[in-house]
């Protein structure tokens, strides 16, 4: 590999720093975590309102500042000057703790995302596992919010939300396994490195299926339409944050949009190559032999590419939100357990097939090249094509099987119900009495 490649490859960032990078850390904390990310999130809310307005043929916020650009600031001021009402019946300590837990969880998730060369705040050896672990705190926070309010709707919303969060966490986590399989590491930095060598993971049948499952599950994880049942206002007021007002509600709001940002970053890093251009283009500079580029130039490029991808991902979420209506509870839970979970489990095996067919040989030779110093010859296009055909067929077969099993069971249920005798209205009291 050329010097340029070494500069670009993210494992320039050491897993275990030799000395404590105090300066970088404080810059990250002050500018990144408590400056840029909340700002990005505030303007994401503005963008969502604008986008939704355009979809619905409205103008959207346009009063505060040009194009309504100062709207997020006005919203923040409004939230902070509202009275903070805690119901008398609530459990005061837990009521305060719940939004804090959720916000901390959504901040912690962002700590391992590699935004550019050496730009992951920390590069943990088991970064992905850490990410999944801290994001699972939010389910706890949601439950505590619903429980501590001591409001029937809040509790119902909280229980529903937790059931939904845990159900969709399973396919979300399972769909990251193909990526780990391709990378052979849990560090998000090395996942981007692997995609530098082999192209984005989304460009492979198992990777694509995993990406789709991951996107759907992520939308459910951040409680957005069509999976916004936890806060279904037509049924349960506002769900688990019914009894939250003022800034406490603001914390939930901030945490939700931070999570949207975080899952977009995660999807980008895992499947869309982080800050990398598509496969042939990311090697362009290397092939042209332009030599060493200063790290800052590379980073500006990578962070811009990363931001564009994240914006696209977030826009997709907005689009889904303004397009689809809310799902029914039973269908939503079915969709997680009967469609997404079997799909992602089957996909793990298909990913292993893809790994054996396409990736194993180049990885082995690449490791040899590093020892012997010979020229690395990339595999021919035929290998990739064969892998595409076989795994593509497997993915389609898996998809059709899952669909068929579900349709089959559904059809038999409908048959059973429509053929069972329908009780007359006059029988109803007797049936209820028996039931009692």
């Amino acid at each position: 590999m050329t010097d340029w490649a070494c500069a670009t490859l993210l494992f320039a960032q050491e897993i275990a720093p030799r000395e404590i990078p105090w300066l970088a850390w404080f810059l990250w904390l002050l500018i990144g975590f408590f400056g840029i990310f909340p700002g990005v999130v505030a303007y994401m809310v503005w963008a969502e309102r604008k986008v939704a307005a355009r979809f619905q043929d409205r103008i959207g916020p346009n009063r505060v500042g040009p194009l309504g650009l100062l709207q997020p600031i006005a919203d923040a001021l409004k939230l902070i000057t509202k009275e903070d009402i805690v119901p008398d019946a609530a459990d005061p300590i837990v009521h305060l703790l719940a939004p804090v837990i959720i916000l901390v969880s959504s901040f912690l998730v962002l700590a391992v995302i590699p935004f550019g060369v050496g730009l992951a705040p920390v590069n943990l050896p088991s970064g992905l596992l850490y990410l999944i672990a801290v994001s699972s705190f939010s389910a706890l926070g949601v439950f505590l919010a619903g429980w501590s309010s001591r409001n029937k709707y809040a509790l119902l919303g909280g229980m529903r939300a937790v059931a939904q969060l845990v159900s969709y966490e399973v396919p979300q986590v399972l769909s990251t396994i193909p990526v780990i399989l391709f990378t052979g590491s849990l560090s998000l930095v090395s996942m981007v490195d692997r995609q530098y060598e082999f192209g984005w993971f989304v460009f492979s049948p198992p990777g694509f299926l995993a990406f789709v499952v991951m996107t759907i599950a992520s939308i459910a994880e951040v409680n957005r339409t069509p999976f916004d049942l936890p806060e279904a206002e037509s049924e349960i007021i506002a769900g688990y944050h019914t009894e939250y007002s003022g800034m406490r509600f603001g914390l939930f709001f901030l945490a939700e949009y931070l999570s949207v940002f975080a899952v977009s970053c995660l999807g980008t890093v895992l499947f869309l190559g982080g800050g990398l251009l598509p496969f042939p283009l990311n090697r362009l500079a290397e092939w042209m032999g332009t030599g060493d580029w200063p790290a800052i130039v590379v980073n500006i490029g990578m962070v811009s590419v990363f931001s564009i991808k994240v914006l696209g991902y977030v826009f997709l979420m907005f689009w889904v939100r303004v397009t689809l209506p809310r799902m029914r509870v039973d269908r939503m839970m079915n969709f997680a357990w009967k469609y997404l979970v079997p799909l992602s489990i089957g996909n793990i095996v298909i990913a292993a097939v893809w790994f054996e067919m396409v990736l194993r040989d180049p990885i082995k030779r690449m490791a040899q090249v590093e020892i012997t110093g010979d020229e690395y010859i990339p595999p021919g296009i035929g290998v990739g094509l064969k892998g595409w055909i076989v795994t593509g067929a497997l993915v389609i077969a898996l998809f059709l099987t899952v669909l068929r099993v579900n349709r089959g069971s559904h059809a038999s249920k409908i048959k059973e119900i429509t053929e069972s005798p329908i009780p007359l209205p006059s029988e109803a009291p007797a049936l209820f009495a028996r039931a009692r």
């Binding site: 404590i20 912690l108 050896p125 590491s185 003022g246 039973d330 489990i345």
Partner: protein, 119 residues
């Protein structure tokens, strides 16, 4: 040391708690505070709430949580497998397929007995 990374995470955690608590304190200082009897009541679209809120819930929720625990532990097994698969090869794949099939039997049982059905 690997742990040094966690020093940053510790800072981040403290900072995030501060980030959450600071606006609450600010709100306490500048927002109006007028407690009233009806203000502190449980919100229920205008009517007073009746009965106990913290009641028993259905077992359905528990089943989903249990399924989640099982699949979470499965993930914990799958992650190291996926990491070390590069060096292990076919045999590891067979082992994992057996493991997955055993767990799928549990899922299929829950599916077939309608435990996955939301009523």
């Amino acid at each position: 040391m690997v742990m040094l990374n966690y020093v940053f995470i510790c800072f981040l955690m403290l900072g995030a708690v501060g980030f959450a608590v600071a606006p609450l304190i600010l709100e306490r200082l500048i927002a109006p505070r007028k407690r009233g009897r009806s203000k502190g009541e449980t919100y229920e679209c205008g009517v007073l709430t009746t009965g106990e809120t913290w009641i028993r819930f259905r077992i359905q929720y528990f089943i989903y949580a249990l399924l989640f625990v099982v699949f979470d532990i499965e993930t914990v097994f799958l992650y190291p497998w996926a990491v070390s698969y590069v060096g292990l090869g076919g045999f590891a794949l067979v082992e994992m397929v057996i493991f997955l099939v055993v767990l799928l039997i549990g899922l299929i049982y829950a599916w077939a007995t309608d435990a996955l059905k939301w009523v």
